[in-house]
């Protein structure tokens, strides 16, 4: 008898989609939740949002993974984004003192869709995602979407900043 698991299908924008486990989705914030911009952070972190009195880092996966339709990516540094829904996700421990570091948010273009995945659906990552395999824990074949990678949320939310130069940028007016 084959195993199966519940999960959520996430549409991340630009034709990019991925899945997470059923227990990893905590909440969905529709209607363009207010993002608070923080200076000097990577472009794929357009800001943080406040949820249940937690400050939640918010990722734009399309910019982080640099795949999908670049034209649909919106602006990389401002708060404007075509991805108007935020999924609050758990990265392991979400209770006690570590709670604030165990919660993140992903920007989506559509509300998450509940899915069931069976063992025999497991497949290889598409070649376009091979270089990014560290961000995925597995991949499965979806009847309509084709190969769907499963996000490794702790790795996704610890992806380091590419900004390494110290000090501020210089603006000349």
């Amino acid at each position: 008898m084959s195993g199966h698991a519940q999960g959520w299908l996430l549409r991340l924008g630009g034709g990019l989609h991925a899945a997470i486990g059923a227990r990893e989705l905590l909440y969905v914030l529709p209607d363009e939740p207010q993002l608070h911009a923080i200076p000097l952070v990577p472009p794929h972190v357009p800001g943080v949002l406040v949820w249940e009195n937690f400050i939640v880092p918010t990722l734009d996966c399309q910019l982080l993974l640099q795949v999908g339709d670049a034209a649909a990516a919106g602006t990389s540094t401002g708060l404007r984004s075509l991805r108007s829904i935020a999924a609050i996700v758990a990265m392991g421990n979400t209770t006690g003192a570590q709670a604030s570091t165990g919660i993140g948010a992903l920007l989506l273009v559509h509300v998450p869709e509940q899915i069931e995945v069976r063992d025999e659906q497991e497949c290889e990552l598409p070649p376009a995602l091979h270089a990014l395999r560290r961000f995925f824990s597995a991949c499965f074949e979806h009847a309509e979407m084709g190969p769907v990678p499963i996000l490794d949320l702790p790795r996704l939310f610890t992806a380091p900043s590419v900004r390494s130069r110290r000090g501020p940028a210089i603006l000349n007016h």
Binding site: P39, L40, N53, F157, T158, A159, R165, P168, A169, H173
Partner: protein, 170 residues
Amino acid sequence: MTALAQQFQAAQYAALSFGRFRVVVPLQDLHSLEPVLDVDTQQRNGHSIGSIELRDGCSARVYCLDELFSLCDAPPSDQRICAVLDDGAEGQLCLVCGTVEALPGEVLTDFPMPACMTSAATPLAGLALLAGRVVGRTSGAALAQFVAAGSAAAAEAICGAEQLLDGTLV
């Protein structure tokens, strides 16, 4: 004692605004406040917009940061207060900001900087919630190092460009 004096006596932090972004620093890092009109712009140097004479007879270089923490060569129109901060090395750093507010510590809820947002480039040590708004946690020393690094990088770029023009750098 006036209500305002009591508020300042109870305060542990100062919140400084740069456009829509606010940072909080320990109140002991705030040396004084000066009006931007007192900045001597004849003393421009690098990316400092000038210098300001302090009440103890010393002077401090004045810098402007926008809400993205980029160094500007003129104060944004909504930033008219010079916050003079101790730079952690017995000197002072003067930053032009929009508002300065004294805060008791209990109004802040602290959060560590999320791992995906940390970098060597940022002077922010963490984030905090202040009345439902997100603010950055930093210090006078961290801001001074941050501004100094930006000025040094700009000076290197200018020096490199001059050497290229002189033909001394190929």
